[in-house]
């Protein structure tokens, strides 16, 4: 009878920190780890976003505070990062849902959808960034 805690089972470790430098991740792997990183980032900045949301809503005066606060370049950089994080998380998430429904599972289609989930958010974020920094 198989025992869940028997000691003679071979242990397969995940890659460690030291392997990260020379471990070549496939495109889908990059999308996957960025999905995690973007999620973690948005989690950490949640109170910051709620604070901005509060300032933008509470009153005419706080709206002015919101506007002057978000006009600093470093706040814009943070916001642009969060815009990218949201877009990447959204696109990678939609790709996930398709795969849950057994689409895009072949090597080629998986690679193409990974490329799309990686590139489209960057392109849209660049356009949003151009708007944010007043290019148009």
């Amino acid at each position: 009878m198989s025992d869940l805690t028997s000691n003679d089972r071979k242990i397969y470790r995940n890659i460690g920190i030291a392997d990260l430098g020379h471990y070549r991740l496939p495109l889908a792997g990059i999308v996957s780890i960025l999905h995690r990183i973007s999620g973690l980032g948005m989690f950490l900045f949640l109170p910051f976003l709620l604070y901005l949301f509060k300032k933008s809503l509470t009153s005419e005066v706080s709206f002015k505070v919101f506007q002057s606060f978000t006009s600093h370049w470093y706040v814009k950089v943070i916001l642009l990062g969060l815009i990218w994080a949201f877009l990447h998380h959204l696109f990678a998430g939609v790709r996930h849902l398709f795969m849950d429904a057994h689409h895009l599972l072949e090597k080629e289609s998986g690679r193409h959808s990974a490329a799309a989930a990686l590139c489209l958010p960057i392109v849209i974020a660049l356009i949003a960034g151009a708007k944010l920094f007043g290019a148009f």
């Binding site: 949640l46 709620l50 809503l57």
Partner: protein, 122 residues
């Protein structure tokens, strides 16, 4: 040795809801948030009033206020499942993991209270 063959190390880890409910809830809340994002962007650009009055006017509408709150609750649940996954994958000592998970819960409950206060002050 216990008389039962289904407890402790001998437990059969099959057939029950081992993470299925959370997995499904994570997907469901994701769809809710994605739909809301599209609707909010649509309403925002359709109203075409990018002043304070236009912005606050949006969230003064009861339906948007309530749906925003529902979406935020979905967000917090979604974040809980995701963050718990991250802690389970990368934080191996059980005691440290419990600290991270506890802080995550407190953090999210705090955010939920803050969101409630913000939405109903408009």
């Amino acid at each position: 040795m216990s008389t039962s063959s289904n407890i402790g190390a001998k437990r059969l880890v099959v057939g029950a809801h081992y993470g299925l409910a959370d997995w499904l809830a994570q997907r469901f809340t994701a769809v809710v948030m994605a739909c809301y994002s599209v609707v909010l962007l649509g309403v925002f650009f359709w109203m075409h009033d990018f002043t304070y009055d236009g912005w606050a006017g949006l969230f003064a509408m009861q339906w948007l206020k309530v749906s925003t709150f529902v979406v935020l609750l979905s967000l917090f649940y979604h974040v809980w499942v995701g963050m718990r996954d991250i802690w389970m994958d990368y934080v191996k000592p059980a005691s440290l993991r419990m600290v991270f998970q506890s802080v995550t819960i407190v953090w999210l409950l705090g955010c939920a209270g803050y969101a409630l206060q913000i939405l109903w002050s408009v």
